[in-house]
């Protein structure tokens, strides 16, 4: 199935669009989605350690604006947001 990942902060540099589409297996958890995104980055931006570190240190939030745990299972087509380390104010 397909899911959408909306990009924020430094992750906006991953692509020209602010939303990526990833193909994942049904019942993939956040840990798996992170791996999937790292593989996508490796194809689009080979060996870019800055980008891969952003993914490794990011959280993900669901459509209810809640940060989800690494074991959260994605079982339907939905949009997640990548939340890189924050620092406003």
């Amino acid at each position: 199935m397909k899911i959408k990942i909306e990009l924020f902060g430094a992750a906006r540099d991953f692509a020209n669009d602010n939303i990526l589409e990833l193909k994942i297996e049904n019942q993939t958890n956040i840990k798996g989605i992170r791996e999937n995104l790292l593989q996508w980055l490796q194809k689009k931006h080979p060996n870019n350690s800055t980008y891969s570190n952003i993914v490794k240190n990011s959280a993900f939030c669901d459509e209810n604006n809640e940060i989800v745990h690494d074991d959260y299972l994605v079982s339907k087509e939905q949009k997640l947001c990548i939340i890189p380390p924050i620092g406003g104010g």
Binding site: F8, G9, A10, R12, D13, N57, S58, A59, C61, N65, I67, V68, H69, D70, C81, I83, P84, P85, I86, G87, G88, G89
Partner: protein, 148 residues
């Protein structure tokens, strides 16, 4: 009473007048304004402006949680707060955030204002991209957010 918003500065302005009008209350004997602005230097680089990015839904939720927590933790009397944060490009000297608070007595407004800005720094999903004099830009490192 509480007001919060993320202000797209390409379309609207953050103003102290609006903040003051919101927090005015005859129940409160003290009010305090915190204004965050863009400064000209960071990590030995000359800064010309900052682009702020925001997950608006999470930001507003976070502001509301912080207000509720401050109210309970600090046991505030008649708390009123106005919080607006910029989204988009803010030039040198421009306002990035306004936190205006009012309470019954003066001691509490200092604690209240400080609590809000420190918690925003810790947990509110806002990101900064600095612009430098040589036209380079850089997203600033930040703090990793964890699930509750």
């Amino acid at each position: 009473m509480f007001h919060c918003d993320v202000v797209d500065v390409a379309k609207n302005k953050i103003t102290l007048e609006k903040a003051q009008a919101f927090i005015e209350s005859h129940k409160c004997g003290a009010s305090l304004f915190f204004i965050g602005t863009v400064r000209d230097n960071n990590n030995d680089k000359t800064v010309t402006g900052i682009t702020y990015d925001s997950h608006d839904g999470m930001v507003k939720k976070s502001f509301e949680e912080i207000f509720d927590e401050a109210n309970k933790t600090l046991q505030l009397q008649h708390p009123v707060a106005f919080v607006e944060h910029a989204k988009g490009y803010v030039p040198l000297g421009g306002i990035s955030v306004v936190i205006a608070v009012a309470c019954k007595h003066r001691a509490q407004v200092y604690e209240f204002s400080r609590y809000i800005i420190e918690e925003i720094k810790k947990r509110t999903p806002i990101w900064k991209k600095e612009h430098y004099i040589n036209e380079e830009t850089s997203w600033l490192d930040g703090k990793k957010i964890e699930a509750k």
